[in-house]
Each structure stands twice: as C-alpha cells, then as structure tokens.
C-alpha cells in the first residue's frame, strides 16, 4: 500500500488536495517541502481526492511536496512530565525542553456517557463577591467570560486560576498576543503554580489551523488527569479566535455559511469542546473557564450567542467589573443552598434593588426630580458598585454576605428590601444607622 505521494492537485487557503488511496477520514499526514515539514489532517474524501488542512499553513508549499500518511489521527502525549511545560498548538514544545512522545492518546475523543456524570456539588471560592455571592462558580462548570478587547479578562482568568483550589491548571491560548502569553507564564511562575500547570499556546503569529487544535489538546490531557481523580481547571482564551479559525476552514471548503459567514455546525463544534467539562462518578473533574471576546460588544453575534446556549452561564466583564445583569451561573443553585441560609435572599434582593437603582439613575439623567425612594436607591447603588462590584475587592463569602446586610441596613428599611421576614429578624444588623425593626 502506497503511503507517500508527491503530487498536490490543489492548494487553496490552508487546505491542500491530493489524489491518494486507502486514506481514512481524520487521518494525519506529514507534509515535507523546502520550507520544512508540517502535519496535516484529512477533512474530506471524494473518491480518491483527499483534502487535508495543513497545520502550519500552506505558505511556500510546492506541488511536489512529499505527503506521507501516518496511519493514525491527531494524538497528544499524556504524562506527568508535561507539568510545568509549554507546547504549541500542534503539541510541539514551545519552551526549550525535550519533546515528549510517551503514552500518546487520541484527541477529540467520544463524549462522556451522561449516566456517568454526577451532579456538581462543590463551590469554587474565588474571593470575588460578584462571583461568590451572586454567581457562584461550581466545580465541573463550563463558563465563558464575555468581554471586549481591552478589558482585563486575562487578568481575571489568571486570578481565578490562582485562587481556585484545583490540582491541575491547563491553559489553552488561542491567537494570544505574545505579551499575553508571557503574562500568563510569568504570573503562574511567580505564584509557584507553574509546576501544576500545562500550557498549550497558539499565538497570533502562528498558523491558523493550529488554533483549532488547542482546545482539543488541552481537553484531551485534562480528561486523562480527571480520570485519574484529579480536579482540573481548563482555561481557554480566546474562543472567538477558535471560532474564526473554524470559519476560515469552512469557507475554504466551500461550505454554505449560515450566519455572518460562520458554518452551520458552529454550535456543535463549540459544544463538543465545552461539553468536556465534567464531574466523573468516582473520579476527578474538569472545570472550563473560557474567554469569548464579543465582536463589536454584540452578544447576539453568532460566537457569544452559540456559546451562551452551550455553557452553564456566563460572566460579562465590562468596564473592569463583572456586570450583575446578564451574568449568570446556572449551577449556583446546586451549592448556594448549603453555604448560608441568607445567601439566596441577599443575592436576589441586592440585584433587584440594583436594577431599581439603574432606573433611578436613568430618571436622574433625564432631569426628573428624585423622590425620597430614589435617593435611597442612589445611595445604595453607589455603595454596591464601590464595595461589591469592584474587582479589587477580595473577601471570602461569609464576609461578603455580612457586607451585603450592612449595605442594605445602611440604606433601607427592612420592608423595602423584599427579603422574607424570618431572615430579616435573624440577620438584619442591629446597629444600623438607618433602619430598625
């Protein structure tokens, strides 16, 4: 059986076509030309015409480049020696360490049988009140941070990673600026977390196709660790670059686009990655935190829109703060009934009051007279933003709840908060400046 070919029929975008026999869908090939060599993956078969996406891009590839089919699909090594190491989107070392070839595993494996999952039960404390109190992060959750360019989303990601009590951190960087890559590396090193981290980094300067592989590599490795009972946190930044790479390949392959040029299977493509987040019955877990930058700050753009339908909530990061509206952790109900009995009441009523504050602000900006009620809301909103929303605030949950009561008591009468009377009786601070029972 012939496995080496020397005649490329077509080169378009990052996809080449060769005439070959006995090739399997998803098989890997090695392309060697004057520029060097690259891996390529089979993405379509039509009779004996084989289309491959070239990981390193097609720049400089000549029609007589050597194409050798390898007889296996894309794999990654998996071993403890990967901890502390940095790899590229094709799994090659990016640091100066040796390449690892032991224990090769398939990437993009099958999905987990739902009956082998358990209901997530463990809260991940972050010290950020907007997360801990209002939208609690839960082990095995998949959650994106919706943001726009210029916001400190990578810093937020790094902070959560360092504060969360997990065994292993896997960072998948897609289309990262080189500075951002260094930022992550340095902050992990500085805090001594690098020894429990593995980094798969695709920078903006690297070939597009490698970008598509980063989530698969990261999650395949994470899955193996989780099966060994480890609690793994996977950070993916930025998934918008991943989706754009998928679009690029789909368009090259002349697929009919569905919405703004994105292929119809964007939802399934994103879902098959995010759904790797799991809490295994009798083994470890994978928590996925991803950044999605919204083009034009538009949440209805296909990437954030499809993402929102897949993930278990989302955090909106805007003006350096996690927005209370729209931000949501769907799994918070699983844990916030076991934290403290007032947790849910504080969470709901503070947000409802903050929504009213926003209405008052609107009225004020239109020049209407402020009623006594409006003035209370203005006082409240201002304190809420300063003492709770600010990302620099770093306090544990209990303390944050107490602070919530204090702010409410300083601004309102108990009845105005809409909190059930029983909780008011128990938690309303006695020495409040402006509220008595």
């Amino acid at each position: 059986m012939r496995r080496i070919y020397n005649k490329i029929e077509q080169i378009a975008g990052n996809v080449i076509t060769v005439i070959a026999d006995e090739v399997a869908y998803g098989e890997l090939a090695k392309i060697t030309s004057r520029e060097g060599s690259s891996l390529a993956q089979v993405i379509r078969l039509e009779g004996d015409r084989v289309s491959l996406q070239v990981l390193a891009g097609t720049k400089g590839i000549s029609t007589n480049a050597e194409i050798r089919f390898l007889g296996h699909s894309m794999k990654t090594p998996f071993s403890k020696s990967m901890l502390g190491r940095i790899f590229t989107g094709s799994g090659e070392p990016r640091d100066n360490g040796p390449s690892i070839t032991e224990n090769m595993i398939d990437i993009g494996g099958p999905s987990v049988n739902p009956v082998k999952r358990v209901i997530p039960r463990n809260m991940i404390q972050t010290g950020i009140p907007m997360i801990d109190v209002f939208n609690t992060l839960v082990e095995s959750q998949k959650l994106p941070i919706f943001s726009i360019a210029g916001e400190p989303y990578n810093a937020l990601l790094a902070r959560i990673a360092l504060q969360a009590k997990v065994d292993i951190i896997i960072l998948g960087g897609m289309g990262l600026k080189h500075d951002d890559y260094l930022f992550f590396r340095n902050i992990l090193e500085k805090n001594g977390a690098i020894t429990r981290s593995i980094l798969f980094i695709h920078t903006a300067a690297d070939p597009t196709v490698e970008c598509i592989l980063v989530p698969d590599l990261s999650l395949a490795v994470a899955e193996q660790f989780a099966l060994q009972g480890k609690r793994v946190l996977v950070l993916l930044t930025d998934m918008t670059n991943f989706a754009d790479s998928i679009k690029e390949i789909a368009n090259t392959m002349e697929q009919i686009p569905s919405n703004r040029g994105y292929p119809g299977d964007l939802y399934s493509q994103l879902a098959s990655r995010y759904e790797k987040a799991v809490d295994f019955e009798g083994a470890g877990s994978i928590t996925v935190l991803a950044v999605t930058t919204m083009p034009g700050d538009d949440v209805t753009h296909p990437i954030p829109d499809n993402t929102g339908y897949i993930t278990e909530g989302q955090f909106y990061l805007r003006n350096g703060r996690i927005e209370p509206f729209g931000s949501l952790s769907r799994l918070k109900q699983q844990v916030n009934n076991r934290t403290r009995e007032d947790h849910r009441a504080i969470m709901d009523s503070m947000i409802q009051l903050y929504a009213l504050y926003k209405e008052s602000i609107e009225k004020q900006s239109m020049g209407f007279r402020m009623s006594a009620w409006d003035n209370k809301l203005l006082k409240y909103g201002e304190r809420f933003e300063r003492e709770m929303m600010d990302l620099n605030v770093n306090i544990p949950l209990e303390q944050a709840l107490n602070l919530g009561w204090q702010i409410l008591a300083d601004c309102f009468q108990p009845a105005e908060t809409g909190i059930p009377t029983k909780l008011i009786e128990k938690f309303w601070p006695a020495a409040a400046s402006n509220g008595t029972l």
Partner: protein
C-alpha cells in the same frame, strides 16, 4: 465490485460502498434497490455504524451517519437494511434513559465505562426480565391493530399489550398465552388474518419513528387544562391536555428551569423528556434527582413515570433529529393505553440546526439564515403529533408537546421561532429584561398568549390583564414625564400592576412551598388579589402609596411561602385583610 451479500449486484443486493465522506455525510454507491430514509450500517472493522439514507441520485445514495465518521475510508462497505428508523415498544420503557437511537445509557455505561462507544447498539427493552401477563382477549375474538391482547403491570401502570400497529385489517385470535410470566420476546398470541395466515405476536413491537401512530377512533378538541402548578401558566397562559406550547427565550432566561419544574409537577400520567442537543449537566440533574423525588399523585418516585431520551450537544448531530422522533413515538405508544403523556423537548432549535447542518452538506438551496425550505413543514408535522384521542375502546389518551426554542440572539423573528408559533396553542415568551430583573419565571406577561382555558373566571382574568397593561402604560409614560408628572391615581394603577406581577406572576422555583401551587390555592390567592386590585385606594403622597404596596407585597410573598391551611397562612391572610380594610375605609372617608 463490492457486493458481499451473494446476490451479485442484482435488484436484491443490499450492499454499497463509500465513495465520499464530508463530515457526517457519506456518499455511497449502491448496486440493488434502496428506500428513502432506510437504515444502513457502515462497516468499520468489527463495528457497524448506523446511518440513514436521506437522498438518492442515480446510483448514489447520500447517507447521514448517526455516529462519529472518524476513520471511515472510501470503498468501505455499507449494508442496507431496507427498514426505516424504528423504535422498540413494549413494557420496560418507563424509568429508562435512552440516547437518540434508543440505546439504554446505563446499560451502555456498564459495558463501555465512562465514554460512549460508537457502533454499540443494545436492546432497548431488557430481554431477560419477565413480566406478569394477564390475557384480556379470548380465542376467536376479532381484533384490529391497537386492540388489547392482554396486560402486564409496569410500575404503577397497567401496560396494555396491543395488536401490532403495523397489522392492517381484522384478525381472529387463534391462540393466546395463559396467565403467567413471560419475557418480552416470547410469543404470547397467534393471530389469523382473513386469508388464514398466522401472525405471531410478542410483547415487543417496532414502529418507524417518523410516522405518527393513528390507531384511534377520533381526535378531539383539547379542552381540559393540564395543571403545571406554575401560577403564570395555569392562570394566565394555560396548556391543555393534548395541546401544544412553546417556550422561546434567550439563553439564561430560565427555559430549562421551567421545563424541569413542569416535568416534576405536571398533572399527567407519563412524562417523556427529550433532551435534544442541550447540556449534559441538565440531563444529569433530572436523572439523578427524579429517583429521589416523590410524585405527589402516586406517592412513588417520579422516575416511575418518566422516560428520558437524551442526545446532548456533544453527541452525534444526526442522531439529534432521531431523538425527538424517538421521544414522540414512545409518547404515542403510552397514549394508546389510555394514558395522558407530556413530551418536553429541549430544545427544538438544536434539532432544527441539525437539519440545517445536513441540508448544508447536501448543498441544498438555503432559505432564511441558511435553514432549509422544508423547516416549517417539518416543525408543523412534529407538533401535529400532539393530540387528545378517543381510542377504540372508548378511553381517552393524550400527548401534549411542549418545546423550548433557543432563538439566535434572543430575537423571536428568526425562522425556528416563527415556524413554531404558527402551529402551537400557547406561547410562553421569555424575556431578557425580566430575567435580568430576577423576575422569574421570566415569561413576558404582555407578549405571551394561550388559546386554552384558564382555571380562573374569565372576567377576573380580564381584570388582571387590564391591570397589567394599564400598569405598564403608566410605567412607560412615567419614563417620559417622570413620577412628578404622573397623577396619584395613575401611580396607584402602576403600583397595583407591579403588585400583581411580583406576588402572583413571579414564583420562586427553589422554594419548597412556592415552587408548586395547586389549582385550589391558585384560585384562592387569585381571588384575594383580584379583591385587592378592585379596592379603591387613595393616599396622601406617592411615597406613602409606595410604602403601603411594599409592605403589602412583602406580606403577600410571605403568604405564598407558607403551607395553605396552616396557622401562619390564616394569620398572614388576616393581616392582609386588615391592611386592605384600612385603606378602603380611608378612601371612603375621603369621598
């Protein structure tokens, strides 16, 4: 030259070979005859992967493979079965968790461990389990398809073993098994048709999922309200047994929580949950929690009345389409036993997207947002499978279908939502504004509608709806003229609207008492609130009016949180009456 069946490429040949692979679309050259929508198996080593024929052109058939296509090769062998995609029906479906192709997932986990394995197809109904059979038909009885041969107990239900739905005409009973325990695949009856040929019948039968079951004497108008114990549903936008409803909404507006609540509390015999292309985590919640929860109607675990079909978003896309049809066919099967069945499909948009994906690969001419032109008719045909019917024996059975829709960007003007709205009887539109303000369930009270009967008096409902509309009008006006430009009467109307909204339309899904409210309690509370809305009120200032309503709201919410009939319930009710009495009195004094 690829025939392996020995018929050497004659019309009887059922072989084919792959000539092209594009994602989950295969192009297969065939030699004999193929049927549109028949099932074929793609052979890969020892594994046989299920696929469905979706287009035939000349010697080539296009197949959507219902599994991962990885590692298939051109020239790979394909076996056509000549059968349409079908499900197994019989005792043992309840409490099960199936994937979209009716593979029992717990069994699969036992065999394959943590991960799903492609090409593994297990029996949907356990073959080793024995069922206690009681014959109903007698020798020489004349029966037709759908008639009861005998019964077996299945959990809390009497499961009817019926004459296979695929048999046409009349049959006489030649032989019937004695009472006793039998496996599902044992012959329990022999039927003879007019020509004298014998049909052997077991407890198991197959039915193609895409063809509706029609073994009933007539289809009736849905009129009885299906209680969901959610106030905004039953009182304002009710659903009827045998009817249809849809819940579209942007992500994060609470579609899934709503569906879970309905699946727990709905007043039906059986609930079929089709988790179609959604998160696996949500299915896990259902399948871990239901066995622990008690069904208030029967005192047994909720799981005993539930079947879960789950094809979550990371499972093969083409099987997603199959999953909703599998679910509705199982629902229809239980309807044939005179039971009321509710099918919840979450989410129909994912199914529509699966259609779009396939259509794109077939290079069909795309319609709006690249959905295929047949989207509307496919959706309509699916919802039309909901019905309340009178069976041949006079008993009634129903299938109610509720589907969620996940419109892109939360914009209801997209093809799937619009196609769905045309064919459903109730529309519960979720709004981002309301969910942002934590007003749950975030069903928009002004946009939503229902064509079915409410549990409260129509004139009271009209008053409540008028209050909401008027309150909303005042709120809109206040945005322009401000509070000081609003008359006190208008302001009170606004507060009444807000009061109704926050104490009745909103409901706490996570509170033990408030999460499910009986019809009796809904009528009682609603009466009280209507009285409050009807009360004439005057206040010295807007601040006083607001303070009054804030207290009233909080008391009423407290009232919602205590058990009906308890001491506290009466106590709070007395407080409410007192507050209203005082306000009404002062209003009268001023007049």
């Amino acid at each position: 030259m690829g025939c392996k069946c020995g018929s050497i490429e004659s019309v009887n040949c059922h072989c084919g070979r792959i000539v092209g692979i594009n994602g989950n679309m295969l192009t297969v050259e065939f030699y004999g005859t193929v049927r549109q929508n028949e099932v074929a198996y793609v052979v890969l080593g020892d594994a046989r992967l299920k696929a469905e024929v979706i287009r035939i052109r000349g010697r080539y058939a296009d197949l959507q493979i219902l599994e991962e296509p990885r590692w298939l090769k051109v020239r790979g062998h394909v076996d056509f079965t000549g059968e349409l995609l079908a499900v197994e029906l019989g005792p043992g479906l309840l409490t099960q968790i199936f994937d979209g192709l009716q593979n029992p997932l717990p069994e699969l986990a036992k065999q394959c461990g943590f991960f799903l394995k492609r090409g593994v197809y297990l029996d949907a109904l356990p073959r080793d389990k024995k069922w206690e059979f009681t014959p109903v038909a007698k020798k020489d009885d004349t029966l037709r398809s759908g008639d009861t041969i005998g019964t077996v107990p299945e959990g809390i239900f009497t499961h009817r073993i019926m004459v296979p739905f695929s048999l046409k005409g009349r049959y006489s009973v030649e032989r019937i098994a004695k009472p006793g325990s039998y496996r599902v695949d044992e012959v329990i009856a022999e039927l003879k048709d007019k020509k004298g040929s014998i049909v052997k019948v077991s407890m198991i039968q197959k039915w193609p999922v895409k063809i509706p079951l029609k073994c009933y004497s007539e289809r009736l108008m849905p009129s009885e309200t299906l209680m969901t114990k959610i106030r905004i549903f039953d009182t304002f936008f009710p659903v009827a047994k045998g009817g249809t409803f849809c819940v579209p909404g942007p992500f994060g507006a609470g579609k899934t929580v709503l569906q879970q609540l309905i699946s727990r509390n709905a007043d039906v015999d059986i609930v079929v949950v089709a988790a179609c292309g959604e998160r696996a985590g949500e299915v896990v919640e259902t399948l871990r929690e239901f066995p622990e929860l008690t069904d208030p109607r029967t005192g047994k675990s909720l799981m005993e009345r539930t079947v879960i079909i789950c094809n979550t978003s990371s499972m093969p896309v083409a099987a997603r389409e199959a999953s909703v049809y599998t679910a509705v066919t199982i629902a229809e099967y239980y309807r044939q036993m005179g039971l009321h069945v509710l099918l919840l499909a979450d989410s129909t948009s994912r199914w529509a997207q699966a259609l779009r994906e396939v259509s794109g690969r077939l290079e069909e001419i795309p319609g709006d947002e690249a959905y295929p032109a047949y989207l509307e008719s496919v959706i309509a045909a699916f919802y039309e499978r909901a019905a309340i019917v009178k069976l041949y024996d006079g008993s009634m059975g129903s299938v109610t279908i509720g589907g969620t829709v996940s419109p892109a960007g939360g914009n209801f003007d997209e093809p799937v939502t619009q196609a769905t709205l045309k064919v459903v009887g109730a529309f519960h539109g979720l709004s981002r504004e309301r969910s942002d303000a934590r007003r749950y369930p975030a069903i928009h009270p002004l946009d939503s509608w229902s064509k079915y009967c409410s549990i409260v008096k129509p004139e009271d409902l009209q008053l409540a709806q008028k209050t909401l509309r008027d309150g909303n009008d005042v709120a809109q006006m206040m945005k322009v003229v401000g509070e000081e430009g609003t008359s006190i009467d208008d302001f009170i109307t606004y507060l009444k609207g807000e009061y109704l909204d926050s104490t009745y339309m909103q409901q706490n899904a996570f509170h033990s008492v408030d999460s499910s409210v009986s019809a009796e309690r809904q009528r009682y509370t609603f009466d009280k609130i209507i009285k409050i809305l009807e009360t004439k009120m005057t206040f010295d200032s807007k601040d006083k009016a607001r303070a009054f309503f804030q207290t009233l709201t909080q008391r009423t919410k407290d009232w919602n949180y205590v058990d009906m009939g308890s001491f506290e319930f009466k106590g709070i009710e007395a407080q409410l009456d007192k507050m209203i009495g005082e306000v009404a009195e002062s209003a009268q004094n001023i007049q």
